[in-house]
Symmetry: C2
Subunit: 97 residues, 2 copies
């Protein structure tokens, strides 16, 4: 009947992060912060969780002299996102008569 919803993706902020990365594949921390409106602290925590799950990878480089944290979605992350969207449809009746 209802497909279970991946708890890692069923979170407003983590879903927003993944949604951005599904489109753009990678993005810098401050950009994600701006687009999602999240606080840096919250974003840092949720990025860690997605990285721990292997849904994204986090690369720490420098941009000139400043640190620059880049988040990139993984194949696993893309698949998880698509599975989540499919599961959601069992609740939403999207496109049903």
């Amino acid at each position: 009947m209802f497909q279970p919803l991946d708890p890692l993706l069923h979170s407003e902020l983590r879903l927003a992060i993944m949604s951005l990365l599904i489109s753009d594949l990678e993005a810098e921390f401050p950009y994600i912060k701006e687009q999602t409106g999240a606080t840096a602290g919250n974003l840092s925590v949720q990025v860690d969780k997605l990285a721990a799950a292997g849904y994204i990878e986090v690369v720490k480089t420098f941009k000139g002299k400043r640190p620059c944290t880049i988040c990139r979605i993984t194949l696993k992350g893309q698949q998880a996102f698509e599975a989540y969207v499919e599961a959601l449809k069992s609740y939403l009746q999207i496109g049903k008569p």
Copy 2:
């Protein structure tokens, strides 16, 4: 960019309850329990929250000698559900090119 998600609906079990009631308008407690696979305790708590928000109304009657709890979706609940689905689309790119 991303529309906020009603926290009352952004919960797996509450969303499942509302999804059932969107189709059927009303349902008995044990039926919802069976369809969602939830424990009675969890279901009781989440039904209370939806009722407190005015998204459903709960009518306690009897079916023969046994108590019978009926949940019915309200207009407010239907509107909230539809708004939630719309908000979700800002994360999912459903039907986008």
